[in-house]
Amino acid sequence: MTTPTPTLAVKVLRAPRAHRTSLVFAIACGVVAVMTLAAVFAPFVAPYPPDAVDFTAVNAGPSAAHWLGTDGLGRDLLSRLVFGARTALLGPLLVVIGSTIIGMLLGLLAGWRGGWIDAVLGRVFDVLFAFPSLLLAIMAVALFGKGLVAPVIAMSIAYAPFVARLTRALVKAERTRPYVAAYRVQGFGGAWIAFRRVLPNVTPIVGAQSTLNFGYVLAELAGLSFLGLGVQPPTPDWGAMINEAQSGVAGGYFLPAIVPAVAVVLVVVAVNIIGEELSDRIGGGVPA
């Protein structure tokens, strides 16, 4: 029996349509790049130190001196936004890296070994899925204290099952591929094949999917600091900025709350666009 191979006609008919999303994708990349650069070079980019108080301009609107205006304490919003980007971006980045490493290792173990290991890990993931990640983070804060470290670790664990589940499915599919059988016939050991060959082959797809988590984590961490459980003052942070601006909103000063909120939305949307585009390009639209 011959395996049906797609003929030229089928390939041509199935060829993907031209990318109409490329402009949107480019803009999203631009947004993330600008934010990242601003965060890295904050001291050079920001016009003022983030905690410099200007009593002549409290809750001031945009002006030549303060492009985005000032908050209730007279601090420059643009500078706080730029410095705040550091924690806003660093937190999700660490969570994405952490959850990807944990998730891929567990997923590889479950998918490659199968059997009871797979069954046990599967139930553990189910339990973790049942916990809202924000709740887990709040619990971690309650146990280990406020700041960035506890929530980042808690959310790395909370997000790991998403990565693990995908990795497990991909590894399970990959395991049955003839190239893996070929490695076995050549005398390579199981661990070598799993770590050195199968894992790198699934990494691009898993990586692209992990990028999508960045946005969710950013929004959740911002929520955490809005509640006052995340990054502590005086370190500027977007979520904390919205919190501090609450009293101003009641007095009719919307800008100090809107500026960081828009920043959060912008980054989350941009990262999701990038993540989706990457998954489409790499994984051929593998559902998460």
């Binding site: 049906p4 003929t7 030229l8 190239y179 059988a181 016939v185 050549q186």
Partner: protein
């Protein structure tokens, strides 16, 4: 104008300017079968699809395509729909991909009848059952309510044919309709098609890569290569006295089972008399399936290959030949029985690293599909070096030099060292797979359908390579294939498997000439033969 289909100077260009078809001309008369043959990528499917207006997005067409007296190119969508409904129908390679698995066979057939022909439910049902009987399915009434998963590939392809006939088309386009099927099933489908053509006076455009099949079925053939017509004419003339170089090469490359002179016998005796390289004794394997009776994949298999010899294992899908191969290379453990390679027991799973490596050194395997058996991320040179470093303990430089030697031995070169599988053609990939297997210098090489995913000319190259390696290195080969012609070309001896049992074994020439077991006879008789020879 009596011609049913008339294609004149057809060209097809993609939006980026790539020209896929160049000046194709062919015609089909009512009641006539025209074969469209060529290797993959030659544009034969594309040509046929154009007839039904199935063209790639934003492509530009040139020339004329007249179907039943009406122009197809540039015709409004409504006219094309009408042509698809009444003038021509098409059946495809993989029947399972073309049918909705959630709906019954009856739904599949009556949908067209009710929507396009406006028949009532009862009329449609009666007609559908009639059609199922026409394609010689055994129990039409019962099949009507069955689901596709209850059908075998061959039965499903008959359903697809019945589906194509609902509109009583004047032209039936068959795009490799038997390629995914076993040879005995192919013979049944071809019989059905021939019978229908005769009864209905349909014209048929039959696309295939199999020259023997085209010769057995077609009145005229059109040979295509790289989007051009190389040669066309009366089938017998084209196959017996080809004019174009390409056709000649294609015919030479096609393995046939026609009885040869006795020079094959001499080869058979040339095998060295030393002890057997492979000894398989009472090998048995059952698969336990949940909720279903166990499948006896291999039953008490016995075989032996002398040093430097070659043995073919022939059988259809599900005959257990792949399971046998997987047990011999150690990918599966047998329930009972033993495998000895060069005198050593090799049927138990290796426990240590040293055992694993010793096992790999004794036997290597080349897999069916080179598109899947090479790691997509690893360049050819690296794949071979990994193996060399695992087995030979060579350092980086030595491994690189040896990898190049091996690539050269299989007809590749330095520029393929860094090539990823994606950038290599099917034949090149299979050469890399062979080089990788040879790097270990195994005592036995198992080739599991190693050429069936390849075009005939590439297959011929790979088979020549295997013959050459056997002559040079005294390699022992176990060659598994569904194709009798290929097995004959490679192996002195062959065994025939059916449902896990070895039904017959002997020199391959004898098996082809005087098959003893009825199943072997059926297999041999199912291989398509040129119509002019069959008549004689």
């Amino acid at each position: 104008m009596s011609r049913l289909l008339d294609i004149d100077g057809l060209t097809l260009e993609l939006h980026d300017g790539t020209r896929l078809l160049e000046g194709i001309s062919l015609s089909v008369a009512p009641g006539e079968t025209v074969g469209l043959v060529g290797e993959s990528g030659s544009g034969k499917s594309l040509t046929a699809r154009t007839v039904l207006g199935l063209v790639p997005e934003r492509s530009r067409l040139g020339g004329r395509v007249r179907l039943d007296g009406r122009e197809v190119i540039g015709a409004p969508a409504r006219d094309i729909l009408d042509l698809r409904r009444h003038a021509a129908a098409m059946i495809f390679q993989d029947p399972r991909a073309g049918i909705n698995p959630m709906r019954t066979i009856g739904d599949h057939l009556t949908e067209t009848l009710r929507r396009c022909e406006g028949k009532s439910a009862a009329e449609a049902r009666a007609r559908a059952i009639e059609l199922l009987a026409d394609v010689q399915l055994p129990r039409p009434e019962e099949h009507f309510g069955q689901y596709p998963h209850e059908f075998s590939g061959g039965m499903l392809q008959r359903v697809m044919i019945a589906g194509a006939l609902t509109s009583s088309p004047k032209l039936l386009i068959c795009d490799e309709p038997t390629t995914a099927l076993d040879v005995t099933t192919q013979a049944e489908i071809v019989r059905v098609l021939v019978e229908l053509r005769e009864r209905r006076g349909m014209g048929m455009l039959f696309i295939t890569h199999d020259l023997n099949l085209a010769a057995s079925l077609c009145d005229r053939v059109v040979v295509m290569s790289r989007g051009r017509v190389e040669e066309s004419g009366d089938a017998r003339r084209v196959f017996t006295a080809p004019e174009a170089d390409y056709t000649r090469r294609l015919i030479e490359a096609t393995p046939s089972i026609a009885v040869r002179s006795l020079d094959g016998e001499a080869e058979a005796d040339a095998s060295a008399p030393a002890g057997p390289m492979l000894e398989v004794r009472g090998l048995d394997k059952q698969y336990q399936l949940r909720g279903r009776p166990p499948v006896h994949a291999v039953v008490e298999a016995e075989l032996e290959i002398p040093r430097g010899g070659s043995l073919g294992v022939v059988g259809e899908s599900g005959s257990g030949k792949s399971t046998l191969a997987r047990m011999i290379v150690g990918l599966e453990q047998p329930d009972r029985g033993e495998v000895r390679i060069a005198g050593r027991e090799r049927s138990t799973a290796p426990r240590s690293r040293a055992e694993r490596i010793a096992h790999a050194k004794s036997v290597q395997m080349v897999f069916q599909d080179p598109y899947l058996s090479l790691d997509p991320r690893i360049p050819a040179g690296r794949a071979i070096q990994d193996v060399l470093r695992l087995h030979g303990g060579l350092d980086r430089v030595a491994a690189e030099a040896r990898a190049l030697e091996l690539l050269e031995a299989v007809g590749l070169g330095e520029r393929h060292l860094a090539a990823r599988p994606k950038t290599l053609s099917g034949g090149q990939r299979q050469r890399v797979a062979i080089a990788r297997a040879l790097a270990i210098e195994p005592e036995l090489l198992v080739m599991d359908e190693a050429t069936s995913a390849l075009d005939v000319s590439v297959q011929a190259q790979v088979l020549d390579l295997v013959a050459q390696l056997r002559a040079q290195r005294g390699l022992t080969v176990l060659f598994i294939s569904h194709d009798l012609g290929v097995v004959r070309r490679v192996c002195e001896r062959a065994v025939v498997m059916r449902r896990g049992e070895i039904v017959e074994q002997g020199p391959s020439e004898r098996l082809l000439r005087e098959p003893e077991h009825p199943y072997t006879r059926l297999l041999v008789d199912s291989v398509p033969r040129p119509s002019w020879e069959a008549a004689a």
